[in-house]
Amino acid sequence: MRRVSGVALAVLLWAGAAWAHQPVMDMAPRWAGGYGAQVRQEYRSSDTLLRGDDEQPNPQGARRRVSTTWLEGIYTFTREVRATIKLPYVDQERSAVVNGVRQKLRGRGLGDMVLAVPLRKYWNLEGATANIGLTPQLRVPTGSTRDDDPVGDGSWDFGLSGSFSSESFRWYTLVDVFWWKNTPGRRGIDQGDLVGLDVNLGYHPWHDNEHNAGVFVMLDVEARYESRGTNAFGFATGGTRLGVGPVLVGYWRNVMARAEAKFPVYERVFDTQVSRGVQLNVGIGVTF
């Protein structure tokens, strides 16, 4: 029974890859006084049940669906100093067994806001540009913890990421190492700390100078380890995950759009949890 309940109430953190990236698409604006905004939609859904890294039967139909709409903004004081804000609207649902009865638990509303100050050091080379970055981040508990499946955890959390990025006309690379210290929240939620590595490798096959338009394709790899924590129902969260997927980016003048799919290559969870499954992400951003 405990196992069945544990299975049905399995929880993964609702926020994830989005914490590592900065608007707008990690690239712009790099000019002093520039600003930008982007809207991004993340979606993932899975009914794959894992115990450790073994897939398990799922007779209770445990399922997890998370849809998050991110509104993100950035202001560039100088190319070395920026400020960003990321505000999520979360709509999520999970299957659960409460007191032996299978239920659908839902949470919907404004999630926890993420503030960051990306600091970067640039090098302009002949035919390329490169930068290293250090980004302190703060997660503000603006999300409600009242829903059946709470969209926030009620705690202030702190993050730090270090990145290296280089770009030539044809190639783009980004390596971002990030860490989050998650403090205990309300309703017994105590998410584990998170460390991760995000790698983007991009190729730029087409560009039109006259219209400032083009596309590039990327491979996105994300690895993350989240220490053991507990959710609002007292069950374990956290584990190790590796996701890989293609990214397609298109731009036209000051507008950029990005679409990506990330597939779970490896997952090992604490106790029993629902897999993250395939993550889909589409967004559009504009700079001024």
Binding site: A32, G33, N124, S166, F169, T173, R253, T287
Partner: protein, 193 residues
């Protein structure tokens, strides 16, 4: 297994293709060397149309990122906005910005350089055509274009007959840092017409 994958990725990125593709960075020259030495070309020299200024911009490889550069340069006075939409053409493959000029006013090199730096890049070399008479200055031949306030200190002599009659030269200009506003601008002669 996944550790091996990550290790492989890190090694691959350590030899980042973006940086491998980059040319070696030329040495920075804070002084006023002779124009020919200072402006030794590292990129191709454009075949310029009339009233056109081409600028080599170091690090400009991403059109989306360079939007601020185009925005900043398009606010310059004296651009011919009938060309390139706003008078500014960004070529990220050649790492070059082309300005379409509408007037024969002195070219505001310092202002252009500042705007490019504010956009996050470095202007390394200007290419332009200058038409005018050449006379001998204390440091070498001076080419005065349509605006007498702006003179170019040439790195090569011009035939006496041509100098008196007036010539049209395509010149490269680099290393303007610290140059007084009214000083002759060191210029490497690229082509004579």
């Amino acid at each position: 297994m996944h550790r091996s994958i990550l290790l492989g990725l890190l090694v691959a990125l350590a030899t980042s293709p973006a940086l491998a593709e980059a040319d070696p960075m030329p040495g920075h020259d804070p002084g006023h060397r002779h124009a020919a030495e200072a402006a030794a070309p590292t990129t191709s020299t454009p075949d310029l149309a009339d009233r056109t200024l081409a600028i080599d911009v170091r690090g400009m490889v991403c059109s989306f990122c360079a939007h601020g550069l185009e925005k900043g340069l398009s606010k310059l006075d004296g651009l011919d906005t009938d060309r390139h939409g706003d008078g500014v053409l960004v070529d990220i493959e050649a790492h070059r910005v082309t300005l379409a000029l509408a007037t024969t006013d002195p070219i505001p090199f310092a202002d252009i350089t500042r705007r490019i730096e504010k956009a996050g890049y470095d202007a390394t070399r200007f290419h332009l055509r200058v038409q005018g008479a050449v006379d001998d200055g204390p440091e070498g031949p001076l080419l005065r274009g349509s605006h007498p306030a702006q003179a170019f200190l040439l790195d090569a002599p011009v035939a006496e007959a041509d100098a008196a009659a007036g010539v049209q030269l395509q010149v490269d200009v680099a290393n303007l840092a610290g140059l007084p506003e009214d000083a002759p601008i060191p210029a490497a002669v690229h082509a004579t017409r």
